[in-house]
Amino acid sequence: MIQFVLLISRQGKVRLTKWYSPYTQKERSKVIRELSGVILTRGPKLCNFVEWRGHKVVYKRYASLYFCMGIDQEDNELEVLEIIHHYVEILDRYFGSVSELRPWFIVCELDLIFNFHKYNAAYYALDELLIAGELQESSKKTVARLIAAQDSLVEAAKEQASSLSNIISQATK
């Protein structure tokens, strides 16, 4: 199963972390620190797998972002690469639909950083894609639809919350 998912920028800044196995905060920082050191120094023409402290880590760079997934020894590296690619396409589709249309490889950190609830969308997309460290939804369309549906729920709630009447009712409570 997939142990963790990390998104790291080319400069070594962490953009997203998700842990499917119990790691303490300390272990998390250590994994991030050491792993980014290993992965960022690898040249472009090398293979996408790293053996690291008994873990296998599959990573792939898209634009300026490294997508890394830590997996078990017996997991299929190529399958995980496909999952990563899948995830990137889902993100692309999502961000492409919320902002202007653009090719997927520009789904770079800017999107992840500047869209705040859309930033969380990267998490939710991951939640739709994987559960308990296993792939559970292989249809991009379905994932996109699910995220969109949840987005609209959130938007509705937000509008309601930020409406003038709501603020007044709160203030005069």
């Binding site: 293979c47 399958e79 950083i113 559960i131 792939l135 559970q136 959130v154 709160q170």
Partner: protein
């Protein structure tokens, strides 16, 4: 209350603001963050959920990206999920799944909220709760929520259902009793037509089966159906993984499955699928030659690709295959060797592994030559990888593949000289290990060690210090093979040894002492030979005389050798050069020419030693100090004598000679005994003599031994004990001696120590100890009492007659073994039967898994009893099929078991009828199923079916039977086939 809340919600920073702020304030990031955290701490306390959730969202972001602690906010996260608004819930759940763990105190509080959300009409709320449960589920949560998840597993909403299926894995893992509730429904889901659900459920079984495959054998038919029927690669990869786990348990299943797997391997275009097939075949279907061949072809295709990923995986696949099908590796030898110079370190490592897998007795020399040359050119990291793998490969099974030890020892020396070498510790172990195990190689060992010691450059590399200490020890221990002891002594005393850490310096000093002693010994022996045998000779100049002597002595020595077993000659100190000689003594006569010492050279040596030791006798390190003083004491005793001889020249009075000889004799007794490897378990095999009274409570001893062990780890505490030192018997020795045979705790302590230092431990040949343990019992017990403390200088143990007898005996029994039979024989390598490998304690499966598989077996049994009441034949609805098949399976296997447990020959008819009934039922069912799946081709129908049935049959037995029953050959009546 209201106004701050209003202010907060109006002017609160959003997550957007924070991200921008972080972006623009790079320089003072930490201050900015701490300011934001302060705000968050304030905002999060508000009663307004909107403000609270925004604060939580910001905190979650900071936690995930900047590793800011958020455990303090766990209660606020719970407040957020209890909000009616979906947006708040969502933020709250994200925070919880990110920050909660087993030890979060408030985790119990979310149980109710999770239940509420799992029962919610809003599918997205259900979704959030399921996600959260899959991440943080604890034993309690899983127990409380099992029934909710169970309900959701049959919901009509596919997207909720598949998540519920995914969560089941967590439930089983944490709360095995959930199996009773959910397992049937999980199995039913295998029949689902929806690919999403199928994917999820196969994923769950894949994880379960990787932990405890045996329990899932009964489900093999279902997986088989998916394997041949599914077109979804995601699913197929997981099914392949399941079969990789199941197949080794059931040969018939493997036979059935191997063909479809090969089909996939031939047809599929997806590389991930190809690789999964290759791996499955290479791990679990190794005995199916055609499948392995096919996989090897595919691997070759991978290797020829430019894509580094495929290349890496191809090599990886080869290394999985290597242990059983080395030919696959040999076929691709060229590519493997090419990959050694690939730019990718991972590929280099894999190819190195493969190269080492190809090493055999015949090619080890060439491969190592190539690799060492390559290591010279590689970077530090890979160089050490190469050296490490050479070292570990060559020492496997007590140097199984090495025939030419002279070559190997010089290779070790060569490896030490590679500038990047950091494997000093490993080389150290092997140098000493080989020295002890292989007698024939000692001269070469000493020669190599000598060269290493002389090189002052090596002293500057701290990684090599351990190796140097081994070289020093070897040279000291086997100094009689040294061609040039004088130079050796100079090397051991060179000023640059001050660079060594004190623990290794002491080894150097001790070795220097041994070398000096050896020189003095040889010298005195020359003198005596002269006085005894050539006393009529008038000595004009020592120089000419001693060279005469040397030549005259050679034949004499040979005589002696024939008379003595070399190692038997322990009492005759006059022949020290042969004492430790063993078969190597052939070369000693060659050495003798150079080894003859003049008075001047001896005096020079003694002076050199004295000069180097004097400053060290005031060292702060007690070890160094003590050894220096020992050496000085010896010099004190000997010097007088030698000097007086020098003066006396011709007047050799007997009485004065005796003084020097006595000292040398004593010391010689201390040094003569040879160290050999001892089995870890040797002590345990020794019978305790009846008359021995054991002191029961040895707690005090434990404390002492504990200390001793601690100190021992840093130096070799391996010398045979000193004779002359016996005045200073240390407290611990007294203790041990008084206690005679240590009782259980002490024995375990000793065994522990022995385990750690087994190689260096005691003299004696192990094989003999085993076969005739009784004969050696007394001697070995003495040895046990002589438990050598860490610092051998302080150990004053009597080498009593018993142990000498033992050595004699051992030597005699060793003799026949040493006879070389062929032209260039492999030297004898002393092996301890099972003692060389540390005892491997069978790894017990985790309790959790035990519980889980136990629960699964239970549920299967329960199903059986249920089905035995209901009528198994009323299976009309397709939906129920899976479940019932399971039931039937179980009842059958139970019956089977019952029959087998009481093998009653009078009752064959009932047994047969049962089986027959079952067979019919089964065939009916499998027909139904196959037809449903529509994948049966008419011709083979019957045959395949029956085989399938058969497989299932046995499968079931295996799964339910306890291991002892499973071990029996399953008695499947042939008439079923």
């Amino acid at each position: 209350m209201a106004s701050p809340s209003l202010m907060d919600s109006l002017f609160q920073r959003s997550l957007d603001d924070i991200i921008k702020g972080l972006r623009h304030q790079q320089s003072t990031e930490s201050t900015f963050i701490s300011k934001v955290i302060e705000e968050i701490r304030r905002e999060i306390k508000t009663t307004d959920l909107q403000t609270k959730s925004t604060a939580l969202q910001k905190l979650t972001y900071l936690n995930s990206i900047h590793s800011i602690d958020m455990s303090w906010a766990s209660f606020h996260a719970i407040e957020c999920i209890s909000s009616p608004a979906f947006a708040h819930k969502k933020i709250g759940y994200l925070a919880i799944s990110q920050s909660f763990n087993e030890s979060t105190p408030v985790i119990l509080l979310i149980s109710n909220q999770l239940r509420k959300d799992l029962n919610s009409g809003n599918e997205f709320e259900v979704n959030l709760a399921l996600d959260c449960l899959s991440r943080i589920g604890t034993v309690d949560l899983c127990r409380d929520l099992t029934s909710e998840v169970f309900t959701l597993m049959s919901t009509s909403k596919v997207f909720v259902r598949k998540k519920a299926v995914g969560v089941v894995f967590r439930l089983f893992e944490k709360y095995p009793d959930a199996v009773r509730v959910c397992f049937k429904r999980l199995v039913e889901s295998l029949e689902s037509s929806d690919s999403q659900i199928l994917s999820a459920v196969v994923g769950v079984f894949c994880e379960l089966a990787s932990k405890d495959p045996r329990s899932y054998l009964p489900l093999a038919p279902e997986f088989y159906r998916i394997l041949v029927g599914s077109r979804n690669n995601w699913v197929l990869i997981k099914v392949l993984k399941i079969f990789a786990n199941l197949a080794p348990l059931e040969p018939r299943l493997a036979k059935r499955v191997v063909e479809p797997i090969c089909d996939h391997l031939r047809k599929t275009g997806a590389k991930s699928m190809v690789f999964e097939c290759i791996r499955t075949v290479a791990t679990s279907f190794t005995e199916y030659e055609s499948a392995v061949k096919l996989a090897a072809v595919k691997i070759r295709e991978f290797l020829l690709e430019d894509d580094p990923n495929l290349k890496y995986l191809g090599l990886h696949g080869l290394s999985i295959m290597a242990p059983k099908h080395l030919w696959a590796v040999l076929e691709n030898k060229d590519i493997v060797i090419q990959s050694l110079s690939d730019e990718d370190p991972n590929i280099k490592l894999e190819s190195l592994c493969l190269l080492m897998a190809m090493v055999s007795e015949s090619n080890v020399v060439e491969i190592c030559r190539v690799l060492v040359n390559y290591a010279l050119k590689s970077d530090l990291e890979f160089c050490n990888e190469i050296l490490g793998s050479i070292l570990s490969t060559c020492c496997q099974n007590v140097y199984e593949i090495i025939t030419d030890f002279d070559w190997y020892v010089s290779l070790l020396g060569e490896m030490s000289r590679i500038p990047h070498c950091q494997k000093g510790e490993e080389i150290e172990n092997q140098l000493i290990d080989i020295g002890m195990r292989v007698k024939d190689v000692r001269p070469e060992l000493v020669r190599v060690g000598h060269h290493l010691l002389i090189d002052p450059a090596l002293l500057g590399n701290p990684y090599l210090h351990r190796m140097l200490s081994a070289a020093a020890w070897v040279c000291g221990e086997y100094v009689e093979f040294s061609g040039n002891p004088v130079e050796l002594l100079e090397a051991l005393l060179q000023p640059r040894t001050s660079l060594l850490p004190s623990s290794i310096r002491t080894v150097y000093m001790q070795s220097a002492f041994k070398v000096l002693f050896f020189c003095v010994c040889t010298y005195i022996e020359q003198k005596e030979d002269m006085t005894l045998e050539v006393s009529d000779l008038t000595s004009k100049g020592e120089c000419s005389e001693s060279s005469d002597l040397a030549s005259a002595k050679a034949p004499v020595e040979c005589d002696q050798d024939e008379g003595f077993n070399p190692r038997n000659s322990s009492q005759s100190y006059e022949d020290p050069s042969v004492v430790n000689g063993g078969p190597g003594h052939v070369s000693t006569s060659a050495f003798m020419e150079e080894k003859s010492f003049t008075r001047e050279s001896i005096v020079k040596l003694v002076n050199l030693m004295e000069l180097s030791m004097c400053p060290l006798s005031g060292s702060y390190d007690v070890e160094i100090q003590e050894r220096a003083r020992n050496a000085l004491g010896f010099i004190e005793l000997v010097k007088q004598d030698i000097l007086s001889r020098l003066l006396r020249k011709e007047a050799n009075s007997e009485s004065e000679d005796v003084c020097a000889s006595k000292i040398v004799e004593w010391l010689h007794d201390a040094f003569y005994e040879e160290l050999g490897p001892v089995s870890i378990t040797a002590q345990e095999r020794v019978l305790i003599p009846d008359e021995l009274v054991l002191k029961q409570n040895l707690a005090d001893l434990e404390a002492i031994c504990g200390n001793v062990e601690l100190t021992s780890s840093c130096s070799f505490s391996l010398r045979s004990p000193y004779y002359g030192e016996s005045a200073g018997v240390s407290f611990s020795n007294h203790q041990v001696e008084e206690d005679s045979e240590p009782s259980t705790e002490a024995t375990s302590l000793l065994t522990e120590h022995r385990r750690r230092h087994e190689l260096y431990y005691l003299p004696s040949e192990k094989n003999e100890t085993i076969t005739t343990a009784n004969d050696y019992a007394p001697a070995t017990i003495t040895i046990a009492n002589d438990y050598p403390p860490a610092n051998y200088l302080s150990s004053g143990i009597n080498t009593n007659d018993d142990s000498q007898d033992l050595v004699t005996l051992t030597n005699q029994s060793l003799l026949p073994k040493r006879k070389p039979n062929y032209a260039k024989p492999r030297p004898v390598v002393v092996k301890l039967d099972e003692g060389d490998a540390a005892p491997v304690t069978a790894k017990k499966p985790e309790v959790k898994d035990d519980l889980l598989s136990g629960a699964i077996r239970d549920i299967l049994n329960e199903a059986k009893s249920a089905s035995s009441q209901s009528n198994p034949s009323d299976k009309s609805s397709i939906k129920k099929k899976g479940k019932e098949k399971l039931n039937v399976d179980l009842s059958d296997s139970k019956e089977d078991l019952a029959v087998r447990e009481q093998p009653n020959p009078e009752n064959p008819s009932s047994r047969r009828s049962k089986h027959r009934g079952h067979g019919k039922e089964k065939s009916k069912k499998s027909q139904e199923k196959k037809d449903g799946a529509g994948r049966e081709d008419g011709g083979e129908k019957g045959k395949q079916k029956s085989r399938n049935r058969n497989g299932k049959h046995k499968t079931r037995q295996r799964a339910d039977a306890p291991s002892n029953v499973a071990a029996q050959t399953p008695a499947i009546p042939d008439f079923l086939l």
